[in-house]
């Protein structure tokens, strides 16, 4: 099939001026909050090695854009930001500065095989807090993400929080081995209630505990979780206490009503080892972003430190942001040979005052009426000349 001149690869989009403007505003607002919270912004390369970032990123292989460098090594267009930042943080330069706070606003690439409606290149904005394994670090990143959602005006935003390790321990208490609990978690990720019920029949769960097992997907508060906590298991007790403290910390930051604590909530991103969370809002049918604790990922770069962070999808935030912005004044000055100097002076004056002006040679405009309609004010050269 020949490619028509106007076509773009599947999932690639042009940002027309209006969208580009919205994104620029969103970037400004978001990164400002990130910087104010003490995070430093950074950029990483667009191309990475398949062997390192490609594999560590936990993005499925067929979603990676791959290409070869001149030595025949396989490269990928970066599919996420967390793993490149983990690599940077593990570098010598930054090791001494732990804990470090890094933020980013970058485009990432994920190939789409199905139909349209999903971009293959999109911006992500987020932070990584590396070298702090305390609960305060988790509370800090969740609250920061929340502040960004609020500042952008996302309607009825919600956060769902789960805990990978605690879920693992609880599933083990039901008598499941690693493979079985892996299967259960896969179904939990997809919230496949029917699948869980069917699988439960094949699992070695004691008769009396079946109802309790099936209820795992219904918990919404930390208090609900208590039902599954084995008080004799020290790790479970500790982690549960942590969750109670986290609930308190987040409540104090004003997030209380917006959080669902779902013990069955899991991520398909395998590097999350502890807390995991996801953000939702009205207007987008897909989650706005996600995050969690990924101490295991840092280990792959040879570093035994705690790390936590989140990433928000800019394309979905745009669908969710409802607040209408007031239209900015935009003046058009139409000049001709006689009024050229007056027009130029006037434009400088308006621009110096901080306003927006388009300077246009009038005879070059073919459809005057539709062109002038784009502006809030139109000044003609002869008006300027006549004072």
């Amino acid at each position: 099939m020949t490619i028509e001149m106007f076509e773009k690869p599947l999932g690639m989009r042009d940002d027309f001026p209006l969208i580009a403007k919205q994104k620029a505003d969103l970037k400004k607002q978001g990164t400002q909050l990130i910087e104010r919270a003490g995070y430093e912004l950074l950029q990483t390369p667009t191309l990475e090695y398949y062997e390192t970032i490609g594999k560590i990123s936990a993005i499925s292989d067929d979603a990676l854009f791959k290409l070869l460098d001149s030595q025949g090594k396989t490269l990928v267009l970066r599919p996420d930001m967390t793993s490149p930042i983990a690599r940077v943080a593990a570098s010598k330069l930054l090791r001494e500065k732990m804990p470090i706070r890094l933020g980013y606003y970058s485009n990432v690439f994920r190939a789409q095989k199905r139909e349209g409606g999903r971009p293959a290149e999109f911006e992500q904005m987020g932070v990584e807090l590396i070298g702090d394994d305390s609960l305060y670090a988790d509370a800090e990143v969740i609250s920061l993400a929340w502040d960004i959602l609020k500042e952008l005006g996302v309607g009825s935003a919600r956060i769902v929080i789960g805990h990978t390790r605690l879920l693992e321990l609880i599933l083990a208490d039901f008598g499941l081995d690693a493979e079985q609990s892996g299967k259960v978690r896969e179904l939990f990720v997809a919230k496949n209630g029917v699948g869980v019920e069917q699988l439960a029949k094949e699992l070695p769960i004691a008769e009396g505990k079946l109802a309790s097992f099936l209820k795992l997907m219904q918990a919404t508060t930390v208090a609900d979780w208590k039902h599954w906590i084995n008080e004799e298991n020290e790790e479970q007790r500790e982690l549960y206490r942590d969750m109670e403290r986290l609930e308190g910390l987040l409540g104090r930051n004003g997030l209380g009503d917006a959080i669902t604590f779902d013990i069955s909530f899991s991520s398909h991103m395998t590097y999350y080892t502890g807390l995991v969370f996801e953000f939702y809002g009205v207007g987008s049918g897909f989650p706005l972003g996600s995050g969690g604790r990924y101490d295991g990922l840092m280990e792959q770069f040879g570093l035994q430190v705690g790390a936590t962070g989140f990433g928000l999808r800019v394309d979905r935030l745009l669908e969710s942001v409802t607040a209408e912005k007031a239209e900015q004044p935009h003046t058009l000055i139409l000049f001709d040979e006689q009024s050229e100097q007056h027009a130029f002076d006037e434009a400088q004056q308006i621009r110096n005052a901080g306003n927006r002006v388009t300077l246009q040679y009038a005879p070059a405009v073919k459809a005057l009426e539709s062109f002038t309609a784009l502006f809030t004010e139109v000044i003609r050269g002869e008006e300027l000349r006549n004072g």
């Binding site: 409606g117 919230k191 496949n192 209630g193 939702y280 009205v282 049918g285």
Partner: protein
């Protein structure tokens, strides 16, 4: 109360699902399906129904233009959409199976399979360690082995009547199929209370 948008397949599944909802105590208008309208409202319950092709229901739900939907497991298996499968409604029971002419072996070099479910068929034969060639058809799949287009077909069987009338026999069963209640992951979180309530009420009905 939030409005819930529900994507429903037209036809027989719709009628059975309608009965379930009414049985669960929902106050729905009497005649929902017999107009040519694609969107119908049930204002008393703040429901809005989207009447769609069965194959398209998971698509509407995945993109979030419908909060929940009712879809056959066959469609869910075939399309692997990102939706939550909340409840087995136990309606429209049938299964997916392979079938062909009686006492025939599949071609050893290039076995050919005709089906409306290319992904299901391909996954099934791959899991058996057999490489097959899939031929996608849109209907009357039973024709394919009769006129020499394929060795086997992979299709829905409910009574087995169509196979029998055309002199075909069933070989292997692939999966049991019923209709499922599915939800968009975001709607599930933002309207969790309403959706869980609906699931609980329907579960009681299904259990009967």
């Amino acid at each position: 109360m939030d409005e819930l948008t529900i994507a429903m397949p037209k036809g027989r599944i719709f009628e059975e699902a309608y009965e379930l909802l009414v049985g669960a105590g929902y106050d729905l208008p009497k005649e929902l399906d017999d107009s040519r309208k694609l969107i119908v409202e049930a204002p008393n319950e703040k429901f809005r129904f989207i009447l769609a092709k069965p194959m398209d229901v998971p698509t509407y739900v995945e993109h979030g233009v419908a909060d929940i939907g009712i879809a056959g497991k066959d469609v869910l298996l075939e399309h692997d959409r990102d939706v939550h499968e909340l409840l087995d409604l136990g309606i429209s029971e049938c299964y997916i199976a392979t079938a062909g002419l009686p006492d025939t072996e599949m071609d050893e070099v290039t076995p050919r399979i005709a089906t409306k479910y290319p992904a299901v068929a391909s996954h099934y034969y791959r899991s058996k360690g057999e490489q097959v060639e899939i031929i996608e058809l849109n209907g009357s799949i039973e024709l394919a082995p009769l006129i020499g287009l394929s060795d086997r077909i992979v299709d829905i069987v409910s009574t087995g009547r169509t196979l029998k009338d055309n002199g075909l026999v069933e070989y292997e069963k692939i999966a049991d199929i019923t209709s499922r209640l599915i939800a968009n992951p975001v709607s599930y979180r933002l309207k969790q209370q309403r959706i869980t309530e609906l699931v609980d009420k329907l579960r009681e009905q299904v259990g009967r």
